[in-house]
Symmetry: C2
Subunit: 418 residues, 2 copies
């Protein structure tokens, strides 16, 4: 007899299916989670089932902490997410594994690269992250970075908001002198296409490199060719399911990272240097992003003013526009009360208030144009800047000054659709 | 003596600059608009200025309406935007040209391809477009399409919201049997890098093709190699300044279009057929898009409920998530009152409520997952569906049914970062 949680092979109507049996609401149907992650229903009649294992009894081996003194020490701070998850065999949904350290024992290559110590900071899917979590995480990462014998830090993180956290850590870690790799996975660890193993290997090489920047480290292509390390303030999740989802936007990656340890640099960066990192982790919660579209009422802006918000980022069209005809009155009122920044929903390229009359009107009424800063980075930066600073002019200065690579001083030629 | 509006060559400190003189606030500085669109300031001292022309006197020749009976008849409906604009020599900003027909006389190739008649529907930058404009434009386009001797229609349009209008026309034109090309330009017509000429040539070939779909027709690469015709419901402006800004998302383009008239098809489409188009152009204004980010308060959703909105589209993270911990209460209240649809801010790929517990929670509380529909297309479709239909179940059915290619029934292998 087979039951939910079993690994099975099912033969039916000339086809063979392999996967994990899920609970089925229909007594006549097997529901099987295939190794590619999709669920299929197979009629029980005329099916031949072979049980090959069971998820519950397939316990991961214990991590043995044999320290190799010749290898660098790397700290891994875990936060949850798919990379440290397994499938729940009852529901077919994905749930966190309880001991992230167990994951490492599945990847024997890691032992040859570094001594990795694991600090579980939290265990949540990244769509549940809040600015408070950024603060908490920055504290954990800062403590590890400031240990003298630690070469670099890896953060494991859900991919949904990994790029927001990458930006948050970029701003919160002042004077960073060591690498910080933020690593995620698009497939859970019990799937054949698990990408977290390679991403962790690449992340470990990154943490041991001389690139002293916060970077996302995940697959560079849809195959297992190499990872790319993207600047934490210049990257976005660009595909809901593909493993090479994190792309650099308005930038090249810092480097390609190969499993062998080879690092191919693609742009300049800050380099490893001595000195403690200074954790500045206050984030203001009363900020919001507004994505404009034709017909969007400016009442949304009035609402945030009324609610006492300290700033908004508009994701405008093209070079940074909203309808001036309908929005200028609300814009004028809002900029007297709070910071109003402009970015573009076009993803790539920079905003510019000088080309069209609409941009000039908005700019002349106090909207601050934020160059090639990504909207996602801009909302994180605004939250961080307002966490540190109350003076309106200083806030504007900080928002329009490049602090962590978020604002390109020159245009980057090769970033488009990389 | 030189003055604003003059075309000049300025020699200064060993360099020579060519461009259009703008008004300068500083008596000691020339402000010059270079042919690449950028403005430079050049000190007047030690500068040698040669006037080579003046924008005001460079009038465009009249369009001569010699009809060639052997050529197809194509209707051009103009709406404004950069493609029908010139630089204002006083401010350096870009302003619409008053007679869009004049533009055609600049592109002699067009006369050899088709007899083009011009209907000026409106003259506004596309960031000023509202759902009312979509209705108005659909009426103009429908009238042209239903003229028996018209092979197809070209719409010239600003690029900021060109893709929203492309989606709006896709839905509004029921039973479309002829091609509709929406053509824009990223450079105004007086610039060396003007892209509108090639886009209009490609758009004319498209309008004469057998592809009976609304498509955006603009540069396919950053060079003048070819144009791509992207499905009106599956395209976005992806770069603020580059000429190949319109990319297909979750789809291949219908075709590559070459200036020679060669058409290289890349995917299937509806084909030209007889029958009148039925214009369904009511759009509901009380809809809004909400782009989620960590820390965004669910009060925004409460606000739209309170304002009596009929629907919202959420641009969630990853597979279609918001923080269930903080949003579920507001979601539950909202879905009782209005349509709440889920799309992804990852741009590419589809949403899926079944993979993670967060998605299941949102789905179980009434959020409607919209597959691989783009957020921009989803807000336009919702506005259109609510314009036609009041019944809640029918609205949900229409939103989750593929009407105009907006919802892929199978996953598209080649669309990512095309």
């Amino acid at each position: 007899m087979s039951s939910a949680g079993d690994r099975v092979r099912i033969k039916h109507a000339g086809f063979e299916y392999s996967g994990i049996l899920l609970e089925s609401k229909d007594d006549n149907i097997f529901v099987l989670k295939l190794s590619n992650g999709y669920n299929v229903g197979i009629p029980k009649g005329n099916s031949k089932v072979t049980v090959t294992g069971n998820l519950q009894v397939e316990k991961l081996p214990e991590l043995k902490a044999e320290k190799n003194l010749k290898l660098p020490n790397v700290s891994l701070v875990s936060t949850g997410g798919t990379i440290t998850s397994r499938v729940d065999y009852r529901t077919g949904a994905v749930h966190p594994i309880t001991k992230p350290a167990e994951l490492l024992s599945q990847i024997p290559e890691l032992k040859k690269i570094a001594n990795i110590s694991v600090t579980p900071a939290m265990s949540k899917f990244s769509e549940e992250f809040s600015p408070d979590d950024w603060s908490k995480l920055a504290g954990f990462v800062g403590r590890e970075l400031n240990k003298e014998n630690v070469r670099g830090v890896i953060v494991t993180h859900g991919t949904d908001t990994l790029h927001y956290t990458a930006a948050a850590l970029s701003f919160a870690l002042e004077g960073l002198g060591k690498p910080v790799a933020i690593v995620g996975g698009q497939r859970s660890s019990d799937r054949g296409s698990f990408d977290g193993a390679m991403n962790l290997i690449c992340g470990t090489h990154y943490a041991n490199s001389d690139i002293a920047e916060v970077a996302t480290v995940l697959h560079g292509t849809s195959s297992d060719d190499y990872c790319i390390a993207n600047p934490g303030t210049k990257t976005k999740k660009m595909h809901t399911t593909m493993r090479n989802t994190f792309r650099p936007i308005n930038s090249m990656p810092y480097a390609k990272l190969f499993k062998t340890g080879k690092i191919e640099k693609l742009r300049g960066s800050n380099l490893r240097h001595a000195g403690e990192v200074n954790v500045q982790s206050q984030f203001e919660e009363k900020v919001a992003l507004i994505k404009y579209h034709p017909g969007l009422s400016p009442k949304i802006l009035d609402f945030y003013v009324k609610e006492g918000y300290r700033g908004v980022i508009i994701e405008g069209t093209g070079l940074g526009h909203v309808s001036a005809n309908t929005w200028l009155k609300s814009i004028t009122a809002a900029t007297k009360k709070m910071f109003v920044g402009m970015t573009s929903q076009a993803n790539y390229g920079k905003v510019d208030p000088y080309v069209y009359s609409t941009g000039r009107d908005l700019f002349n009424h106090g909207v601050v144009y934020l160059g090639d800063m990504l909207a996602e980075t801009a909302i994180v930066k605004l939250s961080w800047v307002l966490g540190q600073e109350k003076d309106k002019d200083k806030v504007r200065d900080l928002m329009t000054t490049n602090l962590r690579g978020e604002l390109s001083e020159k245009s980057v030629p090769n970033g488009f659709l990389y």
